[in-house]
Amino acid sequence: MTWTRKDLLGLEELTKDEIELILSTVESFKEVSTREIKKVPALRGKTVVNLFYEPSTRTRVSFEVAAKRLSADVINIAVQESSVRKGETLIDTGRNIEALKADVIVVRHGASGAPALLAQHVGLNVVNAGDGWHEHPTQALLDMFTLKEKLGRIEGLKVVIVGDIAHSRVARSNIWGLTKLGAKVCVCAPSMLIPPAIEMMGASTSNNIDEALKGADAVNVLRMQFERDTEAAFPEKLDYFKNFGITRERLNNAKKDIIVMHPGPINRGIEISSDIADGKNSVILGQVTNGIAVRMAVLFLLSQARDGVVERREA
């Protein structure tokens, strides 16, 4: 099959085939990062603009590295130093970037739906690098690629996602992606942090991490955010760690080879203990490495679609 979408806004609207196409494309790009000269000319002459309205080091750098390995030119717009401070709207910003003849906008925004709004108004490829609580598709794709790499498959896996599910775009994208590929997803959190009707997205829910971890093939640990003003259900960091933190002791009840994932940055001693984060079950750094290949694949596929020329890359 061929990729035909102009934008990657989320995993909700993708078909199983489309997700599998991306994952198979990732394979070939992963190899590029192992070469001495980590470059392919796939996006040579193209301009990728990173438009980040929210701070990010990991995702932004990852997209930058990915674009550069594809030989693209990368521009980073630091929104705080841009005309956004003068009140320029999102649509105007997008249109101006389009007028500069850029090819791709990678956008991270605090408002859910912002990438969709942008995509409606510009002809460029728009990649969602995280919008509000809504989706973070490339994160979920790299999570899934990592799982497939370690466990050989997605179908039939039991994956637990633990943390502030209600406000997590990583959780939502993972639920869509994993369930479309046949995995069983369980979201685990204190009840105030589980959003309403999440079962309708295909995930089961649990308030007990020990129960949830039984028989799980993987656990994706989300960062607990305490800097949020109104939403914190666990004002004490210790309470959360005690009841939901992923520790060696907790994992003793789970499968011996359970995969431990985290989108980063990790808060040691809050949602995850240091020994687990650094231990043999952890694939956290592997996720980061895979992130580059995933973003290369996404940029490549989107760019091809826009050019109207699509080649199937055989793994």
Binding site: E12, T89, L90, I91, H109, A111, S112, G113, A114, A116, L117, D131, G132, W133, H134, E135, R169, R172, P195, P196, A197, I198, M200, M201
Partner: protein
């Protein structure tokens, strides 16, 4: 009455539920009023209404005309013109303007604008509290007597303070005037932008709970009962609200209520894709709520249909969903949506629908509208109930184009709107 027009509307199905009429007959109009049939038909302009429905002009008791203050969104002139296209001949203008209609001075300011520029009948609603701040009551008595206000509402907000609301209701009873409630407990809806539930979860948006609406309605009707005052609940959107109102009525409360066309036609799924024209307060709810609203219209628990016409400029709508203003326009689509969803789907018959959109609102407001009896104001519309059309942004007469129905196919077109005995609107065909 400006001018004299003699019109005969011939052969139409005259549906005049206020007078129990539903049959093919002719309507005579003379000198601004419904007239007796005249033997001398020579001077009359004749409109052939064969195959059409002839009914009283709609009375829309919830419209934001935005004047004074936000003439970029809408004005009395543009809003009433938009209304005429939609078959609306009488409007109750909501008072959350800039400045708000919280003083006799401001009420007279608006009244003057109405006198000079309104294309249809406009009645004025005053606010319950000063500046709609919820802290101090306005002078309801003077606003009614000297300002000409026929009802009072802080619409856009609810009066949070129970004691103050109690006082307002007592005053309203004393003055024999109506309080219209925008029932919303903001501590329960705070920051929400869509219905709390599957849609808010999958879109990653803050949700507005149903409790925030029906709990406040509970409070409003209870206080009204205690004060023995009449109260009208605006824009009812969910099934619990319907139940609360039905129960209150059973217990003897003098409560009436309205719903808007979007609540009996659209569900929260319309929000998928982040179309800000579907960002409304109260929000679009679930399938069961739409069903409950339709059932309540059928059973009579909901008395009226009002558009809650909320015009906004592009700058306030074509932005991130969180930041966009709440509201959809409604004057030009309300009748067609009602025909498409209620008549066509056999939820209401024509006499019932007309009652909900003219007779009942008029009765609730205590104004003499909604009747085609001889001697009444000649506010008459002629409707083609079968013609279909697609809602297009560029076709709107309103200054604002933020309609939740853009792109939808609707049934029902207003061919003529006669207001005060003169043809005020004629469709292009």
């Amino acid at each position: 009455m400006k001018g004299q027009s003699k019109i005969i509307i011939k052969n139409g199905r005259v549906c005049d539920p206020a007078n129990n009429i539903d049959e093919v007959r002719d309507i005579y109009i003379d000198n601004g009023r419904i007239a007796r049939p005249s033997k001398n038909g020579n001077n009359y302009q004749i409109i052939d209404a064969s195959g059409k429905i002839v009914m009283p002009g709609l009375v829309d008791m919830h419209v934001h005309l935005r004047q004074p203050g936000r003439e970029d969104k809408e004005t009395v002139a543009s809003g009433t013109a938009a209304g005429l296209k939609g078959g609306v001949t009488t409007i109750l203008a909501m008072p959350n303007t800039q400045p708000a209609i919280d003083s006799v001075e401001n009420a007279l300011l608006l009244a003057d604008m109405v006198k000079k520029t309104a294309q249809a009948n406009v009645f004025i609603c005053g606010t319950i509290t000063l500046g709609r701040g919820g802290k101090e009551l306005t002078d309801l008595a003077r606003l009614k007597k000297d300002g000409g206000c026929i009802a009072f509402s802080d619409d856009g907000s609810s009066v949070d303070d129970d004691l103050l609301m109690q006082k307002a209701l007592k005053k309203a009873r004393e003055q024999k005037t109506l309080i219209i409630c925008h029932s919303e407990d903001r501590s329960l809806s705070a920051g929400g932008v869509v219905n709390l539930g599957f849609t808010s979860t999958r879109l990653g948006l803050r949700g507005i709970s149903r409790e925030s609406e029906y709990k406040r309605i509970e409070r409003d009707v209870t206080l009204a009962m205690n004060a023995k005052a009449a109260v009208h609940i605006a824009h009812v959107s969910c099934r619990e609200s319907v139940e609360v109102i039905a129960l209150a009525r059973k217990n003897g409360a003098r409560v009436t209520c309205e719903t808007a066309p979007h609540y009996f036609s659209l569900t929260e799924e319309a929000v998928l894709g982040y179309d800000t024209n579907t960002k409304i307060n109260p929000p679009l709810r679930g399938k069961e709520d739409v069903a409950a609203i339709r059932q309540a219209l059928c059973s009579g628990t909901i008395d009226a249909i009002a558009s809650d016409h909320a015009p906004h400029t592009e700058n306030e709508k074509d932005i991130e969903f969180d930041r966009a203003e709440f509201g959809t326009t409604g004057l030009e689509t309300e009748l067609a949506v009602a025909i498409t969803e209620l008549i066509d789907q056999k939820v209401l018959d024509w006499p019932d629908l007309i009652a909900k959109m003219s007779v009942n609102p008029a009765k609730i407001l205590g104004i003499d509208k909604g009747s085609l009896a001889v001697g009444k104001d000649a506010d008459v519309i002629i409707v083609d109930p079968a013609k279909t059309w697609v809602v297009r942004r560029d076709d709107f007469i309103s200054k604002s184009k933020n309609s939740a129905f853009i792109g939808r196919k609707l049934k029902g077109v207003v061919e003529y709107t006669i207001c005060g005995g003169k043809i005020a609107y004629k469709s292009r065909g």
